[in-house]
C-alpha cells in the first residue's frame, strides 16, 4: 500500500512551494514539486523604458535581488552595445555589491532557513551567554512560536547545540551586516540601486572603501570562527545526509564575477556543465529547451526560440506554475554545489584547492558532496573563498578612475545577461523596439531545481533528490524537508514568465 504525504507550505524557503511524495515500504516512490504563485512580471515589463528592467526585475525576489540586478545590468549593457566598455572599477564595485548578497545568502540559508532542522532551540541552559539567557526567558512562555510546531530529529550534544542556538542569534546580526556592507556601494538593501547599466551609480572614495572593509572583516571573522565549525558539527552528527538527496548529478553554471584583467574579462567562478558528476564540458546556451507538459501552460515541449505558451489553468496532469528547463533534454541542477563541481572538474583555482582542503578535513571524496550536506558545504566554501576574494577586489578599486560609462538607448537592439544568483544560474534576455522593451525573459535558478516532470516523464532535480529516500516516520517527514531546503528554493524567482508577443529575431533565446 502506498501512502501520500503533502507538505504545503514548505516553510523556511523563499515563496510558495508544495511538495507531494508517495511512500511505499517507507521509501519515496514518487515526488511532485509545485510552484504555487504566478505574477507574470515579464509581461509587466513590455512597453517600458529598458533601464527600468534593472529595478523591476529585482522585485522578482527580495532575498536574491542581486541575481537579477547583475543579470539585467549585463543584459542591458549588451543591448546598449557597451558590454566591452564597463570599466575595471565598474566591474569591481558591481562584484562587491553582488558578492555581499552571496555571502549573505550562505549565512541566512544555513542558520535561519536550515538550522532549525538540526538544532533544538528549546534545549539550552542559563549562564552560558546573554543570548541563551534571552532564549531561556523566552522558554517560560506557554507557546514557543514561531519555533513550534516542528519536525523533531535532534542529535547535537548539549554544548554544540547551545553554541549553535547562540550562533543562530548572532548570525541574525552578521547577516544584517552583510546587507549594510552591500548598501555602502548599493544604496539600500533589499532592492539596491548601485548597479546600473553602464557600471555603478556612484564614484567610490577611500571612506566608502574603508566602511565596506570594516564590515567585511566582521563577517569574515564569523565565517572563519563559527560558521565553518557549526557546519562541520552538523555534518558529524547527521552523517547519513552525505548519502541522502543525491539528485540528478548533472550540474550547470553560467559563471559569475567578471573581472577585467589585462584588457580581457574573466569570470572568477567559471561557466560550464558537468555530466554524471564527472565530465566537464563548456556550456552551449542554445542547447536549453523548456517542457511545459506538467505545468499550467498550453502545449508540451517548447522550442524557446519560437513558441509562446499561454496559461491553461485547467490543464490535465499539470501540477506547477514552474516549467521544466532541460539542457540537451537532460535534467541539470544549478546552485552553489553546481558552481563548485563545475569549477572543480574544470580545475579552476582557487576553487579546486579550497574544495580539496575541505574534503580532506572531512575525510570524504568529491562524490559525497552530491548530497544534502554537500549543498550546505558548497555554500560554506563559497562564503569563505568569496570573502577572501572580496578583500582583494576592494583593494583594487582606483578612486581616480571612472566607475560609469555613458550610453544612448538604441532604437532597436537585443541582448542577454548570464550570471549567477546565490541560488544558481540566472539568465535575462531583452529585445528593444522603438527604445522600449518589446520582449523580456528571465530564467531563474529555482526554475531548474524545482521543475516538474518533463516530456519524457523525467522528474526535476529536487524531485529526483527525493526519490528513493527512506522516511523513518511518516508523521515526521523531516528527511523531505531537509532535502528540499538543501536546494534553497526561491519560488518567486521560479515563476514570472508569460509573453504573448512574437519575435522575428533568430538569435534571441526565449524561455517561455
Amino acid at each position: 500500500m502506498s501512502k501520500k504525504i503533502v507538505i504545503d507550505p514548505i516553510t523556511r524557503i523563499e515563496g510558495h512551494l508544495k511538495v507531494e511524495v508517495e511512500i511505499e515500504n517507507n521509501k519515496i516512490v514518487d515526488a511532485k514539486c509545485s510552484g504555487m504563485l504566478y505574477r507574470g512580471l515579464e509581461k509587466i515589463l513590455i512597453g517600458r523604458d529598458p533601464r527600468d528592467a534593472n529595478q523591476i526585475t529585482q522585485r522578482i525576489c527580495g532575498v536574491c535581488p542581486m541575481a537579477h540586478a547583475a543579470a539585467s545590468a549585463m543584459c542591458l549593457d549588451d543591448a546598449f552595445g557597451i558590454s566591452g566598455k564597463i570599466t575595471k572599477n565598474g566591474w569591481l564595485v558591481r562584484n562587491l555589491i553582488h558578492v555581499s548578497n552571496h555571502i549573505h545568502n550562505s549565512i541566512l540559508h544555513f542558520y535561519h532557513l536550515s538550522a532549525l532542522d538540526y538544532v533544538d532551540v528549546s534545549k539550552v541552559s542559563r549562564g552560558v551567554s546573554s543570548e541563551l539567557d534571552l532564549v531561556c526567558k523566552f522558554l517560560e512562555r506557554d507557546k514557543y512560536y514561531p519555533f513550534v510546531p516542528r519536525e523533531e530529529d535532534f542529535r547535537l550534544p548539549q554544548k554544540i547545540n547551545e553554541r549553535m542556538v547562540h550562533n543562530y542569534l548572532k548570525a541574525l546580526e552578521i547577516r544584517r551586516n552583510t546587507h549594510e556592507m552591500l548598501s555602502v556601494f548599493g544604496g539600500k538593501m533589499p532592492h539596491q540601486c548601485g548597479i546600473v547599466p553602464g557600471g555603478v551609480s556612484q564614484n567610490i572614495d577611500a571612506g566608502k572603501i574603508e566602511s565596506f572593509l570594516g564590515k567585511l572583516k566582521d563577517v569574515k571573522e564569523f565565517i572563519d570562527l563559527y560558521y565553518i565549525r557549526d557546519l562541520i558539527d552538523v555534518a558529524t552528527y547527521y552523517p547519513e545526509y552525505f548519502q541522502i538527496g543525491k539528485g540528478c548529478e548533472n550540474y550547470l553554471a553560467y559563471g559569475v564575477f567578471p573581472v577585467r584583467k589585462n584588457g580581457k574579462i574573466e569570470k572568477f567562478q567559471p561557466s560550464g556543465i558537468v555530466i554524471g558528476g564527472e565530465k566537464f564540458e563548456e556550456l552551449e546556451v542554445s542547447e536549453i529547451r523548456e517542457c511545459v507538459n506538467h505545468s499550467w501552460y498550453e502545449g508540451e515541449v517548447k522550442n524557446p526560440a519560437c513558441d509562446f505558451p499561454e496559461v491553461d489553468i485547467e490543464k490535465e496532469n499539470a501540477y506547477s506554475w514552474i516549467k521544466s528547463p532541460r539542457y540537451r533534454g537532460e535534467v541539470f541542477e544549478v546552485g552553489p554545489l553546481a558552481r563548485l563541481v563545475v569549477a572543480y572538474r574544470k580545475g579552476q583555482q582557487p576553487w579546486k584547492g579550497a574544495i580539496e582542503s575541505f574534503l580532506s578535513e572531512l575525510k570524504i571524496d568529491i562524490g559525497k558532496l552530491f548530497s544534502v550536506l554537500g549543498r550546505h558545504i558548497a555554500r560554506t566554501i563559497e562564503a569563505k573563498v568569496l570573502t577572501e576574494e572580496a578583500m582583494k577586489w576592494l583593494l583594487q578599486i582606483n578612486p581616480e578612475e571612472p566607475f560609469y560609462t555613458n550610453y544612448e538607448i538604441p532604437e532597436e537592439g537585443e541582448g542577454n545577461g548570464l550570471s549567477e544568483g546565490a541560488r544558481g544560474a540566472v539568465g535575462h534576455w531583452i529585445k528593444i523596439e522603438n527604445k522600449k522593451i518589446a520582449h523580456y525573459q528571465v530564467i531563474s535558478p529555482t526554475t531548474w531545481n524545482a521543475s516538474p516532470k518533463d516530456d519524457k516523464g523525467k522528474p526535476g532535480p529536487i524531485e529526483q533528490a527525493l526519490l528513493g529516500t527512506e522516511i523513518k516516520d511518516e508523521n515526521n517527514p523531516v528527511e523531505v524537508l531537509r532535502i528540499v531546503r538543501s536546494f534553497d528554493p526561491c519560488l518567486a524567482c521560479a515563476v514570472q514568465i508569460m509573453n504573448r508577443k512574437k519575435l522575428k529575431s533568430k538569435q534571441v533565446i526565449l524561455w517561455v
Binding site: 507538505i7 504545503d8 510558495h16 504555487m36 522585485r59 535581488p65 535561519h112 546580526e173 556601494f185 489553468i313
Partner: protein, 275 residues
C-alpha cells in the same frame, strides 16, 4: 505577561519586506522574537513562513486555531483576484480565501510593503493576475477593520517596528489619507533632501558620474512622502539619493506605473503640488 499574537501572511510578493524587517538596525530581531517589546508585553509570532520552525499541515492548523481570536494580521504581497485568485495558493486555498477569512477575524490588519498596501509591482500594467492591495480587497468585500499601510519597496524596518511599538504601547497613531503613519510618511523627501541646495541653485547631474541634484535623472523625491533622507537605510549607512541614484517613489500608491520611467525627468508642473 500580555501576548500580542501576530499572523504574517505572505501573498503575491517577493519576501523582500521580510528580509528588510530582518535588517532592523537598533531594535534587534532577536529581541522582537524572544523578549518583551515594552515591559509586560510580548509579540507572539504565530505564523511567519520564512522563519517558522514547522511546515505543511501542522502550521496551517496552528494558523487556524490561533486565528480564532485576538490577533493582528500582517500581510506581505498583493492579493491576486483574477480567475478567483487561482494564481496564488497556500495549503490548498487561494491567498484571497485565506485573507478574507483571516481579516474578518483579526483585530486589525497591517499591510507591509507597497504590494500589500496598494498592489505595487505585480499590479503594474497590465496586472496579469488582477493583484490588489489589501485595503481594496477589504473594501470590495465589506470588511471594516483597522488598517495600517506601511508601504515601501521594501519598507524601512523602523517604519514597521515603530508602528508596531506604538500599537503595543497603546499610543495614538495618526494616519494620512493613504493610511500611512505620518510619523514616517509625513514629509516629502524633497523637503529634507541633502541635495536640495543643488536643486535650488539649478545644479543638476545629467548622468551618474556627475555631482548635483538628481531631478533630471528621474528623481521622484519632490513627489514622494517618506523620511528616508533623515532615517537613511541599512543602519544609516546609505540611501538611494546618497548613493547617487534617483528616488523611485516606492512608497507611493501609484508606484511603479506613476513613478516610471525611473530614469526620466518627471513633469515639472507637478512640483509642489499634492500628488
Amino acid at each position: 505577561m500580555e501576548s500580542i499574537k501576530v499572523i504574517w501572511l505572505q501573498a503575491a510578493g517577493c519576501t523582500g519586506c521580510t528580509v528588510s524587517l530582518l535588517n532592523s538596525p537598533s531594535f534587534k530581531i532577536k529581541n522582537l522574537l524572544l523578549d518583551e517589546i515594552v515591559p509586560g508585553k510580548i509579540v507572539s509570532l504565530v505564523f511567519q513562513p520564512t522563519i517558522m520552525g514547522g511546515a505543511g499541515e501542522k502550521v496551517i492548523c496552528v494558523m487556524k486555531e490561533e486565528s480564532e481570536r485576538d490577533f493582528f494580521l500582517v500581510v506581505e504581497g498583493a492579493i491576486p483576484t483574477k480567475d478567483g485568485g487561482v494564481y496564488g495558493k497556500v495549503g490548498e486555498k487561494t491567498f484571497l480565501e485565506i485573507f478574507l477569512e483571516l481579516s474578518k477575524k483579526a483585530k486589525g490588519v497591517i499591510a507591509i510593503g507597497t504590494c500589500s498596501s496598494f498592489g505595487g509591482i505585480p499590479a503594474a500594467k497590465p496586472n496579469p493576475t488582477g493583484c490588489k492591495g489589501v485595503g481594496k480587497v477589504m473594501e470590495e468585500n465589506g470588511i471594516k477593520k483597522l488598517l495600517i499601510n506601511i508601504p515601501g519597496c521594501p519598507p524601512h524596518p523602523e517604519w514597521f517596528i515603530g508602528t508596531l511599538f506604538k500599537i503595543i504601547k497603546g499610543d495614538e497613531l495618526k494616519l494620512d489619507e493613504y493610511k500611512r503613519p505620518v510619523d514616517f510618511y509625513g514629509m516629502l523627501i524633497h523637503e529634507n533632501c541633502p541635495r536640495r541646495p543643488y536643486f535650488d541653485k539649478g545644479k543638476f547631474a545629467k548622468n551618474f558620474s556627475e555631482e548635483g541634484c538628481l531631478y533630471l535623472l528621474g528623481c521622484n523625491g519632490p513627489f514622494t512622502y517618506s523620511d528616508c533622507p533623515l532615517r537613511q537605510w541599512n543602519g544609516g549607512v546609505n540611501w538611494c539619493i546618497k548613493n547617487n541614484s534617483p528616488c523611485f517613489g516606492c512608497v507611493e500608491s501609484d508606484y511603479p506605473d506613476g513613478t516610471t520611467p525611473f530614469y526620466e525627468r518627471k513633469s515639472i508642473e507637478e512640483l509642489g503640488e499634492e500628488k
